[in-house]
Assembly symmetry: C2
Homo-oligomer: 460 residues x 2
């Protein structure tokens, strides 16, 4: 690709479409928003700093504290009308020394890549070694019963379904293994759990993520194994069902730590008490920089306010960028935000979250009453020139969902980027800054700014 | 991201939408096409081979010949009804030893990354060193006139416009510098040309691409300089307009070489003389693997036929996968294909080209009479669940355009993937297999298969 003469027809078409589209003041203003993001964007530079100078920032870590201070100072440097912190206590889980694992038979020992699931207990000072049994579903586990599970390590090995075009559907369809698997196995006397990484790609990287222990059963150590490792283990079990699995994890949960949500605001000129919030989560897993999850959401949200500030936009309503703390293993920040919104009798027109990676924009998922979804959908002609076609009922965001319980009128909106690449990096050691494309990141921030411009101007 | 409970509402929505969408036989069949691509896809494995075992394959090179033989054997292994070659003579330009360049003043010498533009003459055995003068446009060059240009190297430094959401528009808007710049400069007595790489990202990689010499003026050596190098050069010229630029290029044009288009067919059961062609170009630039440009188009096109074959689909019309030779520096394969289509009195319903990278699908650009564009646009409800929203008048493809002159009724269709990442890799040394995402590649092949299914079933 490609000879330039071939663009003559195409360019003429684009120009004519542009002229048509640019006749309305709203389309012109949205064009300005995108121009600002694409020519003067700061989100990529900011994400570089957050990813490479601060790095992985699990709740309670020194890096999370650094990220709090950095994002506060950054928003102050942009001279937003108000920048402040919301104190919140967060869990403090630490991974400890790097995990080790091997598949063992009488004849061989094959090392495989694992990592502890977030929140897991460790194996103690030495490795845990036990027979291992493979299942695909929680139902299959239950059908095996205590007699076949007792004393064993349970290996959950159901892949994400590659047929789902939205990879989030595939994630949703496989996540019960990671989330409930450990305690369901413990109920039947299992001593440990290994879960196939929630990754659609075949590689050697284990993907962490939270488990949810049932407090009524013993907490057993739970690890993620890479997709290649899971296939290897499954093949070896087919050949020899009497294998042992051996793993060593030194993770532990320490006392809770004081941390913060970080908030910046542009104050509304007409209706300052009506709030439009846009956010991401400042914490990340510890295995990588957390560039896509969710450095992008944070830097894009700050960028939304920076764009408005730089365009001298005077919002009617208060526009707020929120860096939520502790999405990954507790949602304490999201809950604290909702709790304080209630205490302060705040009225949210909408809350938007970007927590699906810094990929090319596709649209917005909305949780709200149908009339509000319809109202937003009517803006499609203004948004589709920027690739924003998928606008309708959908997923909003983990950190903003607690708002639904305190402010029934708030529209909860999830920014929806393209999902194909996300789970190749999600919660794994390759979620690093180099996987983020500058333009895709910038278009995401501009997309949210465009929607917020319309929400601010017309309300819901 | 993200807690799984948050998907309850979303999943319910998706399921209900699915059930609705799957009520028509066409939507069910298109679902099967995508399922086959996403669960049993071969294009990624094939692209790995083409990129990593064969590599860069400029027309006339041994690698281009290997790619011809490999793609023929691959299609034969899939047992397509017919696999054959179309002989075509192609230019044979070679780069020679790696280029070198430096910015020189009386005090300093700063090395910068360059590469020869495709088709350029070399500098001879030694470096070409001359004063350098910067311009942004061809008009600016002409305004300078012979007195200011004679004996100098002209530095074209107009960046691609980052505000264009379609990066192809930005490419189109900057490409005259590379294409016509060398001969326009030569007309005014310039001795050489350096062009800012057509890349929206700031990095150190020069991007090659064809120039077009005007045969009435001397051919002068023309190089691309990386975007960072271009900025550096421009800054240094601001500080000291009397700099010299020095570069050494050993490229040359050798005698033409015999090569081939490679074609595979599934023969139509009802209207075998009506053809639907789908293709990409088998040649690539020499600096990298040519994974995105255009290994993807080739492997996706073969995949289209493989999908139909594996689903036991019996097409009404003949479906043809075409690997065009020599898109990059001559379009000889595309012209030969059209010439033979005319000679054989073939009737093309449509020709589809994938030559914009293996990125997530966005739609199709169509060059055809309005009634045909409307007919295709009416299939949007069947295609939009797969992210194919942008369907309408647009860019088709360099290799299929010559068909327009011999078959007025053929709809020419360009597969349109997302364009944000393309020009970061385009014609540069980083256009390698690791930049391709497996699912994005597979969705592209399935998207073309879905459209071809509809074209085959309903005609145009």
């Amino acid at each position: 690709m490609l000879l330039l003469r071939t663009f003559l027809i195409f360019s003429a078409f684009i120009i004519s479409r542009k002229c048509f589209a640019q006749t309305s003041p709203d389309s012109l203003y949205i064009r300005q928003i995108f121009d600002e993001a694409l020519t003067n964007g700061q989100s990529y530079k900011n994400l570089d700093y957050l990813s490479n100078k601060i790095g992985g920032r699990l709740s309670g870590s020194p890096e999370a504290e650094k990220a709090v201070q950095w994002s506060k100072q950054l928003m102050e440097s942009y001279k937003f009308d108000k920048v402040y912190l919301q104190e919140v206590m967060v869990p403090h889980w630490v991974r400890g020394a790097k995990e080790k694992a091997s598949i063992q038979s009488s004849k061989s020992k094959v090392e495989v890549p694992i990592c502890a699931l977030g929140g897991s207990v460790g194996t103690g000072k030495t490795a845990l070694t036990a027979p291992i049994i493979e299942v695909k579903t929680l139902d299959e586990l239950k059908a095996l019963g205590r007699s076949k599970v007792q004393g064993k390590i349970v290996f959950f090995n159901r892949p994400m379904d590659p047929r789902r075009v939205s990879t989030f559907e595939a994630y949703s369809g496989a996540g019960d293994q990671r989330r409930q698997g450990p305690s369901e196995a413990a109920k039947l006397g299992a001593v440990g759990v290994v879960v196939r990484s929630l990754n659609l790609f075949q590689d050697d990287l284990p993907h962490t993520g939270s488990l949810r222990y049932d407090e009524t059963v013993p907490k057993i150590p739970a690890a993620a194994i890479s997709t290649n490792g899971a296939d290897k283990l499954s093949q070896m079990l087919q050949a020899d069902p009497n294998l042992n699995f051996s793993y060593e994890m030194h993770c532990e949960t320490l006392p809770e730590v004081k941390s913060y949500n970080v908030i910046g605001e542009l104050r509304g000129s007409e209706k300052p008490n009506e709030i439009i919030a846009v956010g991401g989560h400042l914490d990340s897993w510890d295995l990588a920089d957390g560039a896509h999850d969710d450095g992008t959401g944070c830097t894009q949200s700050i960028e939304v306010l920076r764009i408005f500030k730089n365009l001298n936009y005077r919002p009617k309503r208060t526009i707020r960028a929120v860096m939520f703390m502790n999405e990954e293993n507790g949602v304490r920040g999201g809950r604290k935000y909702a709790e304080l919104a209630k205490a302060n009798q705040e009225k949210h027109v909408a809350a938007i979250e970007s927590d699906a990676g810094g990929f090319t924009p596709r649209g917005f998922g909305i949780v709200a009453e149908p009339s509000k979804i319809n109202a937003i959908s009517k803006w499609k002609p203004l948004l589709s020139p920027y690739g924003l076609h998928d606008i309708g009922l959908g997923h909003a965001g983990t950190d903003i969902e607690p708002l639904a319980e305190v402010d029934k009128n708030a529209a909860l909106i999830g920014f929806t980027p393209d999902s194909q690449r996300y789970f190749q990096y999600h919660h794994a050691s390759n979620d690093t800054f180099d996987k983020v494309n500058k333009r895709e990141l910038e278009l995401g921030g501009a997309s949210m700014a465009a929607l917020i411009y319309l929400l601010d101007k017309y309300g819901l």
